[in-house]
Amino acid sequence: MVTAVTSLGRSGLSDWVIQRVTALVLLAYLVFIVLAVFACDLSYTEWKGLFEQTWVRVFSVAALLSTAMHAWIGLWCISTDYLISRVLRIKFNDAVAARANYYRWAFQAASAIVLFTYVVWGFQILWS
């Protein structure tokens, strides 16, 4: 049993389910946005009116949180695939490989900060 403290759901199964559910939310939101932009030919006032409706805000927040969770699972997976000593030793050298954990944590911290910023910024935009 391999444990991982930094994975989103702490279990492979929950990460897998979260990634699929969030993908469906994002797909639905993409369809909604594409329809809103291209099919309705919205003016600025109409666009603002659309996003002032509660259901659109709820939907947008769901999409925003889904983006953050989906991205975290994907980026975490990338960091634990490539930013590990075995891979860095092959690509670079032993000295770089010895610092693999620090590189991985730095990458994960940077990813977390960026995603958190997007979420807060998104809330700010939706309620401004």
């Binding site: 049993m1 391999v2 991982a4 492979g12 990460d15 634990t80 490539y82 075995r86 891979v87």
Partner: protein, 235 residues
């Protein structure tokens, strides 16, 4: 004459691996890749590779043939070359090279060992044998035929990066072989041991394993079944 590019590495004399270009007379026949290696070895006995049954059963001569993993003994030259002129032979990717085409399979076997590839049944043994219905037995088809040649696992990028934490397609095919067996009673224990972010879920379904399996098996499908079992268990 057939042109062959051969991966050579002897850790005792070579600083690093290199590709050796050699030519071999196949007599115009569509030989198996293993036959070509045998011809080469007759003129240069220092070439190292594993082989045994020469009929695709023992799984010893898995190697990378013109960029695709396969068994040298059942791979005809015509299929390996696909109209090209040069045969390129390398060891299975991702595992440490012992010498030339022979790789150290320890990491592969360690993952195999992890899935407890044997029947576990704690109920009292019957007088003769544990019976299965033909339908129950049928569930093992496409699973039990694996010969552990490692062609699939060493074609899998997830196994290249995490050979210590991801079981790999071969091990997971074996894991499902025992999960699907009606005579096995350790399903819960087996699933509990697989439920982490690496053992099963590093499979992203790219199906390199299916593409290379010399026995035509489908580890990706077996991994899908394991995932569904884990999901049913947790919901």
């Amino acid at each position: 004459m057939l042109k062959v590019s051969l991966y050579r590495y002897n850790p005792e004399t070579d600083k690093e691996p290199y590709m050796q270009d050699v030519e071999v007379d196949t007599g115009g026949k569509d030989l198996m890749v293993l036959d070509v290696l045998e011809l080469l070895k007759a003129s240069d006995p220092s070439i190292a590779y594993r082989r045994s049954c020469r009929e695709g059963v023992c799984g010893s001569d898995g190697m990378n043939i013109n960029g695709k993993n396969g068994l040298a003994c059942i791979m005809p030259l015509s299929e390996a070359l696909k109209g090209g002129k040069k045969l390129v032979l390398r060891p299975l990717p991702g595992l440490p090279v012992v010498r030339d085409l022979a790789v150290d399979m320890s990491m592969f076997y360690q993952q195999y060992e992890k899935v407890k590839p044997y029947l576990i049944n704690n109920t009292p043994a019957p007088a003769i044998e544990r019976l299965q219905s033909p339908e129950e037995r049928e569930k093992l088809d496409g699973l039990y035929e694996c010969i552990l040649c490692a062609c699939c696992s060493t074609a899998c990028p997830s196994f290249w990066w995490n050979p210590d934490r991801f079981i790999g397609p071969s091990g997971l095919l074996q894991a499902y072989r025992f999960l699907a067996d009606s005579r096995d009673t350790a399903t819960e224990q087996r699933l509990a041991e697989l439920d982490d972010p690496f053992s099963v879920f590093r499979c992203h379904g790219i199906q390199n394993c299916v593409n290379v399996c010399p026995k035509g098996l489908n580890p990706t499908k077996a991994i899908g079944h394991i995932r569904n079992m884990l999901l049913s268990r947790a919901t």
